[in-house]
Subunit: 300 residues, 2 copies
């Protein structure tokens, strides 16, 4: 297969990365990546140039994009819809058809009480619902900003964001704890991870003071080698689960995220008696963009 | 007064800064600062050169130093004593009397169960106890790594470190929350601060999810202008107080730290019915170094 058979282009355009797929209906037939995420691009001209560059040699097909490309600091600000709302995102056209073809961007979802926002996850959710239209339960999208989303009757009912990935990254790479981290030791199978999950869930008020112990245990010679990263990861995911308890307790949970992170969340949830299902992010993103694109064509 | 009347030199040598005082007995008669903290110096020669430079023109008096200068990455590693232990630190001489005079460094204190460490705070505690030898209660030293220290019979009984200052700095300057921060709005008098303290103390499991709301409230237009920094500060100090509850509940608390931070902790504690006393850091540091120096001379 090659891209000359494609009939549209799917794009996942986040803060740090851009991924595009040459699509034929709902099937990906070619794929390209770049590190020109929203943070690397400053003006509408740069976004247009990057789309032209990354699709070079592909037919001049319509591009359907989701993610931070639609934020205020992105290419074109696409308004948030307010939850509860249907999962399939509305698409907004970039003015002037850059490079002679339509570029359409999916809007995010906001919530007023309590205030919350998402951009990109709504498309993955639409993709999941395209495959399981009757899904009634909770979708967990772990990442830099983990989202817990209540789904019912094809709608995003309400959701909650926890900054778990970002806080893990700041603490493990930039705080005093970095001296005690061993790369790659956060594995759901190690005892330090599951112990820390339990501790954070049962004594959240104490978790805060447990952070410095990861460093101190090293200094006073009381730490198991290589366990600090697993403990930190377990502690933060345990706190995340504690804050999101109303989302997962007694609910069917579907996890969509990077494989390693999804395995950590699944392990933590299983420890609490939940039986989550793990899905694939890229498949969900493409299916969600396809659903949005189909809805857009039907209406226009 | 000038430094020619001095009879010893006190030095507070931390991670980022060095402060020295020309002392006559327990009185400071001159003072100098530099940004050559432990992190800026790589070898014993550089530490020696910095001491020579910063005391230039002062008599070649003995230097008594506390802080991270005694850590493994510092000038000379001074062992930790194990709590419970007397508050007055033991001094260890830098080999070879650099620059033709003794340089003495105060050792830190460690704790095995749960693991914890301090370097520098023990000297401030010794200074407080020099002025109030019968103090029985808790000393709170807010900062990058806030310490809560139980004092009884002139001894450091046990203590707990919470990484409040470091986490505040990472979240307010480097996370996505930085876009919502207004410099200087963390004031104990604003409602956002005290509301966030209460919320974090009463619902610690939820605090984690409240972090992202500080950003989302801005994006959906629901935030009071300038309140995010106060909310973040209140949230983190509330979590700190929640973890340290056994330290302050029903205890006499003495706070020693930078004035603005001390005021925030005092306000949070007052909200919980505690009546803390605020002391002065520099006075405590010099008095503690003086007590250590006097003890060292008596013994040698």
């Amino acid at each position: 297969m090659n891209a000359t058979n494609a009939d549209w282009i799917a794009a996942d355009w986040g803060t740090s990365n851009l991924r595009v797929w040459a699509m034929r209906d709902d099937e990906a037939i070619d794929m390209r990546n770049s590190d020109k995420g929203m943070n690397a691009l400053a003006s509408p001209e740069e976004f247009a140039a990057e789309i032209a560059r990354i699709t070079e040699g592909w037919p001049a097909l319509p591009v359907v994009a989701c993610g931070m490309v639609g934020a205020r600091q992105g290419w074109v600000e696409v308004p948030y819809r307010t939850a509860p709302c249907p999962a399939i995102p509305e698409l907004v056209a970039v003015p002037g058809d850059p490079g002679g073809r339509p570029v359409l961007i999916a809007g995010g979802v906001k919530q007023s009480h309590p205030p919350d926002v998402m951009r990109g996850e709504e498309t993955q959710i639409a993709g999941i619902l395209a495959a399981r239209p009757d899904f009634d339960g909770v979708i967990c999208l772990p990442g830099t900003h983990t989202k817990w989303v209540r789904i019912s009757a094809g709608e995003i009912c309400h959701f909650q964001t926890v900054m778990t990935g970002e806080v893990f990254s700041l603490l493990s790479r930039q705080s005093v704890l970095r001296h005690s981290m061993t790369e790659g030791s956060s594995d759901p199978r190690i005892a330090a991870f599951s112990d820390a999950v339990s501790e954070a869930l049962s004594r959240p008020h104490q978790a805060w003071a447990n952070l410095f112990r990861l460093r101190a245990a090293d200094l006073v010679g009381h730490s198991a080698p290589g366990s600090a990263e697993g403990s930190l990861s377990g502690m933060l995911i345990g706190l995340d689960l504690g804050a999101a308890r109303p989302y997962w307790l007694g609910e069917q949970v579907l996890i969509i995220g990077a494989p390693r992170l999804s395995a950590l969340y699944a392990s933590a949830l299983e420890q609490q008696g939940s039986a989550p299902i793990i899905g694939d992010t890229d498949t969900a993103t493409r299916a969600g963009l396809h659903a949005a694109w189909r809805q857009y064509r039907t209406r226009s």
